[in-house]
Symmetry: C2
Subunit: 100 residues, 2 copies
DNA sequence: GGTAGCGGTCATATTTTCCTGACTTATTGC
DNA sequence: GCAATAAGTCAGGAAAATATGACCGCTACC
């Protein structure tokens, strides 16, 4: 059990895990469309809550799919943008959509 | 809340859910390679257990990705085969692999 | 008749995930 | 100064997922 032991015999499993959870797929989809913000998500995703969104956003950021950006404009905004890695995932998601 | 209420604002979410869980991605991958059997999985997937595999296999079957087949040969075998729907998912999984 | 392998189920833990409500810091509007 | 909005954190608790160990029916072997 070293630090390099990734314990991941299935390559796709990592990606799958990045989008697993109750809110992450929807957040990702919205972010793929346009940058998202905390309060906006809280309003759009009915039934969600601060805690879960906070965790989900942090995980999406940690896995490199979203990037948190502080916009130093008038009222100070924080937005989450899709990264390059995130964008690379979009076409795969679209294929999944079509299989549904 | 009718029976037609699918509560699924994100199309890909259904597919994602079908492969969510600790063992389902690996089971799916193995089944995509060749039909799998209960005892074989239990041996190959180190750290797994009957209960979890049973649940995972039933869910994969219920979601139409695997098909349970009883082979009425000499010692009686039960195997899980990839369905057409499951096969359609394979190339998408391969794309996920390459994004890793 | 005893033992072993296959393919499970069942009842019960343990672990992980998700939700709730209270509280915080900073900014804006009145 | 006071309330509101944004973007959270924190301490619980409830619910869902996962694991453990016992047990069962069937076939096969010796």
């Amino acid at each position: 059990m070293t630090a390099t032991d990734q314990d991941m015999p299935c390559p796709a499993q990592g990606l799958l895990k990045m989008l697993s959870g109750k809110w992450k797929p929807e957040i990702f989809r919205l972010a793929a469309d346009a940058p998202v913000r905390f309060s906006g998500l809280l309003r759009q995703l009915k039934g969600s809550n601060k805690q879960s969104l906070s965790v989900a956003l942090n995980e999406l950021e940690a896995s490199g799919l979203l990037e948190k950006v502080v916009l130093r404009q008038k009222p100070l905004h924080i937005a989450y943008y899709l990264t390059g890695k995130g964008a690379a995932l979009v076409p795969v998601m679209q294929q999944l959509d079509q299989l549904s």
